[in-house]
Symmetry: C2
Subunit: 159 residues, 2 copies
């Protein structure tokens, strides 16, 4: 099922409901965020937007404001905290999923598990709780990290 409306358009629709406009700054911000499917944190995004050489820069404070709006619009979602920063990912046009997070390499491996969702629903129901969403971070070691010393930046590499 294809995404019928672009994130930018979706954002505009959301803004309308609040009597707000899709300004150039807002457009630039959404487009930068949806230019790829990478996770991001606001600071980094702001740096990227501030570095634009053409007249397309957006101030840090505005980036924070726009990211907050995009989250309220349901375009993006907070997935974790990394190095004291909130990490975001696309929520629009991207199915919900969870993450395996490697403590060694920082890798984020995405996975989907309907079974998991089902269990949560059931457990929640047992507690009279209505699920609206969840955030799951599984910590451990990725295959990559466990590879027996292969070009990995380990101080223990024999010199």
């Amino acid at each position: 099922m294809p995404v019928a409306v672009s994130p930018t358009e979706k954002f505009r629709e959301f803004l309308v409901t609040r009597n707000q406009r899709l300004t150039p700054e807002r457009r630039i911000t959404v487009e930068e965020v949806f230019a790829d499917h990478e996770h991001f944190d606001v600071e980094t995004l702001a740096e990227r937007l501030a570095a634009k050489s053409d007249g397309r820069r957006v101030s840090r404070s505005s980036v924070y404001r726009h990211v907050a709006a995009m989250e309220e619009a349901g375009l993006i979602r907070k997935i974790a905290r990394q190095d004291d920063r909130d990490l975001y990912e696309h929520a629009y046009g991207y199915p919900h999923h969870d993450h395996l997070i490697c403590r060694e390499t920082g890798e984020l491996i995405e996975f989907r598990s309907p079974e998991l969702d089902a269990i949560l629903e059931r457990v929640a129901a047992e507690h009279g709780f209505r699920v609206e969403g969840h955030r799951l971070e599984v910590y451990g070691l990725s295959r990559e990290a466990r590879k027996p010393r292969r070009r990995r930046h380990s101080k223990l590499d024999r010199v």
Copy 2:
């Protein structure tokens, strides 16, 4: 299997491995934390410890230092972020579990699900990932929050 060693003693053992001592301040901090099974954030804990009328107060910075140490010792664990503060809970003498978090009341309902753990193991294995732990926060509405008592402030009213 019963907890053979008290948290305080456990903390002492950990400190020894780093050539550190269980000072009065450290002892007071661990004891305060394990005085009940409630979740806590450092700021609140620090306030409690600063308010002690007897000569048992501990400065905020030390509380931060001690809490960090206790986490490294495996006595406590970070479970979520609430109101911009890290929230901790006991990890020692308390079986691992996850939480249903009410977005309305802030309630934290604990639950355990071996099935969930099993699924995570399986999914992880499929990705060559070795699980060491996880953090799961399920958001939604608790029964309490859904009780149809007098007008709860909701933007969705009469839309």
